[in-house]
Each structure stands twice: as C-alpha cells, then as structure tokens.
C-alpha cells in the first residue's frame, strides 16, 4: 500500500473510501489506485455511486452539507482530506468537467477560460493571454475561436461549449481532470472530438471519466472500474473488462443484461 502511494505512476491512492449522505452509505470500502497520465473509466448503473466517487476525488461532494467520508485519498502522496488542506486547493489540483457544459453565460470566451486564474489573484494580462491560448489549444478549440475571443461563450455550439469548459478546467493547470459524462449531451462528431481530446490530454494529465457509454469507455480508457450499489466490483485494464471480465456482475452489466 505504501509503495503504491509513493509510486510516481500512481496519481491517486484511494483506501477504504466510504461516503455517506446522512445515514445513507452510498460508497462502501473502495480501495483503488488511479494511474498517472492514463485514462480511468468509471462505469456502472445509475445510483451505483460512480459520480459520488468522482466527486470525492476533489471534495466536491462536501458541497452537500449531509455528506461525510471515511477512508483515505492521496494525490501524489498528499492526503487531500488532511485538516490543513483547503478544498479550494484540492479542486485546483483536481479539476472537473461536468455532463452539461456550464460556461458562465455573461462572460466572454476568454473570460471563461481565465476565470479560475483571476479568482486566484492573477491579473497580469500577458500571463492571462498566454494561458488562454495555451488552454484553448489543449482543448482543441483555439482554431475555432481565436478570432472571436471576446464573443459570449453561449454563442458557441454545445460541443464547443464543452471544450471551453475543458479549457477552463485546464487553465489552472490541474494534475488530474475528472469528467462526469462529458459527451453524453453531444452529437457523434462533437463526441468524437471530445474523445480524441481525452486521448491527447492523457499525455500530460491523469483523467478519470464517468460514462454510461461502454464503447466510449473502451475507446478512451486504459483502465476501467465497475461499480455496483456503492461497491467496486471489478477494476482492471479496459480490454480485459470488455472482452473477458472476471466477475459475472461485470459481464452482465457490460452485455446489457441489467442496469
């Protein structure tokens, strides 16, 4: 366990994680290592705890006052739930992209990208401009918006808005990017752009993605974790999960027999 925590190839070390909402235990005793610079997919039927798991990775679930956690989560060896660690700092290191794109509607494209930096007190125009271009390039959006950076973010298409949200998450230079069904509201072309982007981003980032689309998990991820009723049923390399899973529950889920 300690070797995994100190392994530079492991971004997140999760041990005996349990999450409660009030008296309801929605995640039970989850232990897993998330590989650095790789894509880990989280799959499972609705209500299996996959989104809660994702949110626990950047303390987002704490926004719900009834939420409580047990266990340990280390980010490159640092305990993210340590008393002296601010959730805001954790969320800067572990960024998040949501199912529905949520750009700030009154802000321009460039303001959306730099909002996190400005909240962190960065005012230097040169830095902000540099980071805008860099983040939009990484999100594969630069070429499409470079001539209208001051246009409203909502003037973009759904797929572009989602990539803008990815650029916004990247602007604060996180170490891990969490994605909660980032392409479920997009058409096939926009979806494939997001998937290609994920493959590009994993060269530099650790990515954890929740998806209901098995084929998407197969296309983009290196590892897949299957959750069921709050428990981690199976965790393995993706090809194994989708061609010869070890557990019957996984087999039944990926073949569409339940869920």
């Amino acid at each position: 366990m300690s070797t995994a925590a100190n392994n530079p190839n492991t971004a997140l070390t999760i041990r005996n994680l349990a999450v409660y909402f009030g008296a309801n235990k929605v995640l039970k005793d989850v232990s897993i290592d998330i590989a650095a610079r790789a894509v880990t997919a989280i799959i499972g039927p609705s209500g299996c705890g996959k989104s809660t798991f994702l949110r626990a990775l950047n303390r987002m679930h704490e926004l719900n006052p009834e939420a409580r956690m047990e266990g340990e989560i280390k980010l490159f060896g640092d305990d993210i739930y340590s008393r002296n660690v601010e959730p805001v700092v954790v969320r800067r290191r572990v960024g998040m992209v949501f199912q529905k794109s949520n750009p700030f509607p009154t802000m321009s494209i460039s303001e959306n990208v730099t909002v996190g930096l400005r909240l962190n007190g960065i005012r230097d125009k040169k830095i902000l401009n540099e980071r805008t271009e860099q983040s939009l390039r990484m999100a594969a959006l630069w070429d499409e918006v470079k001539d209208r950076l001051h246009a409203h973010a909502i003037s973009l298409s759904g797929g572009q808005q989602q990539r803008l949200c990815i650029a916004r998450a990247l602007a604060v230079q996180p170490e891990v990017l969490l994605m909660d069904e980032p392409a479920s509201a997009l058409d096939p072309l926009a979806t494939s752009k997001i998937e290609e982007l994920i493959l590009e981003l994993k060269k530099e980032y650790t990515i954890v993605i929740v998806t209901h689309n098995m084929q998407q998990a197969a296309r983009v991820s290196d590892f897949t974790a299957f959750f069921y009723i709050g428990e981690l049923v199976e965790f393995d390399v993706t090809t194994k999960i989708f061609t010869s899973p070890s557990k019957k529950q996984t087999e039944d889920y990926v073949t569409g027999r339940f869920g």
Partner: protein, 218 residues
C-alpha cells in the same frame, strides 16, 4: 488530433500485411521445393507454418479489442474483413505446408516423368494472392473484381494436370503413389487461388459495402 480508431486500424493493417508476406513466401518456397526436389526447403516451409498461425491469433485479438470500441461503417468493415483475410492467409499457409509435405516425400523418390504445367499454375495462383493483397492496400475494388474470374484459369489447369496424372497412372501403375502426391499438390495450389479469390471478394465488400460472395457464376 488523430481519429480515435486510426492507430488501432493502422496497426491491424500492418500486422495483416506482415502475415501476408509470410504466407506468400511459404507458397513460393513450397512450390520451389516441389519443383526443385529440395527436401530441406520443404522441411523449412513446414516449420514456418507456426509463425503464420500465430499471426492469425494475434490479428483476431487486435480485431476483438477494436470491436469493443464500436467502429462503424468502413472502420467496422475493415475489422471484420481483416479477420477474414487473416483466416484465408492462414489457410494459404496450410496449403503451402501440404505442398511442402508432398515435396519432402517426392524428393526421396525417383522423379515422375510427366510434363506438368504446375509451375504456371503456381505463378497464376501466387499472382492472384499478390494482386488481391494489393487491391486491399490500395482499396481498389475494380482491381479486386478483376481477380475473381482468374480463378477459372487455375481450376482449368488443375483439371488438366489431374487428367494427365490419371492417364500416367493407368499407363504406369508403379508411379501411382508418387502421382497421388502430385495430384494433392496441384489441388493445394488450386485452393490457394480460391483463397485469393475470397480475399478479393472481401476487398470488394470493404470498398463497396456489397457482399458479392456466391453471387457470381464463376
């Protein structure tokens, strides 16, 4: 940015072409060992068949992994076609092994004095294999369609050789065992042409999304 399937499909195609070059070499060398009565070469062809078999297994594994990603349209056809082409190549390898076995046995017996057009038959069959693979690489469906009728020529040659050997056996009963070896070898070359034709039909399906198997009176 790369298309999500590009890398996997490229790797699959490369592996298939590598397998094809092994299969072509096996056919070439098996026919050579037969015509030149080269016992050692025949043994080598037989031993190399394992390599071709291994390719078939690896290509199936790669294809199955790609299928989990749900490729569609041309991408989907490429994966299924690759599996079928590799199966045909594996069979071509098997036929080469059969020829090599006959070559090994014939090399240890006195030569049969019949003038058989087996080298021409082998040249035609091999050219069909080569052209079918080229049409796959070029995604040239017209070229693939042109290959299909050439199978008839190989069939006719096989029939002719069969008749020659039957005649020879009647006249020289002491050569029956050796002539049977030649009949089997010729039949193997005829089968190689069949597999080349199958590959060509798969290329048509890949390019045109049209299944032409069993539709043409060949």
């Amino acid at each position: 940015m790369e298309n999500i399937f590009e890398t996997g499909l490229d790797a699959l195609t490369q592996k298939l072409l590598l397998m094809a070059s092994h299969a072509e070499t096996a056919v070439n060398e098996s026919v050579q060992s037969l015509m030149q009565r080269n016992h050692d070469l025949a043994l080598r062809v037989k031993a190399d068949d394992d390599v071709i078999d291994k390719f078939e297994v690896e290509i199936d594994e790669m294809a199955i992994q790609l299928l989990t990603k749900a490729p569609l349209a041309t991408n989907l056809r490429l994966v299924t076609v690759a599996m079928k082409i590799s199966q045909n190549l594996e069979r071509i390898g098997d036929e080469a092994t059969k020829i090599a076995k006959r070559a090994r046995d014939l090399a240890q017996e006195p030569a049969v004095k019949v003038n058989l057009d087996l080298p021409r038959m082998a040249v035609l069959a091999l050219a069909m294999v080569k052209d079918a693979l080229n049409s796959f690489v070029q995604r040239d469906s017209a070229a693939a369609r042109d290959i299909i009728p050439r199978d008839k020529e190989v069939d006719a040659l096989n029939k002719h050789i069969h008749q020659q050997l039957a005649q020879h056996m009647m006249e020289n009963p002491d050569t029956i065992a050796r002539c049977l070896h030649w009949i089997v070898a010729a039949k193997s070359i005829e089968r190689i042409a069949d597999h080349a034709k199958n590959i060509a039909e798969e290329v048509v399906f890949l390019c045109e999304a049209q299944d032409i198997r069993h539709t043409l009176k060949n």
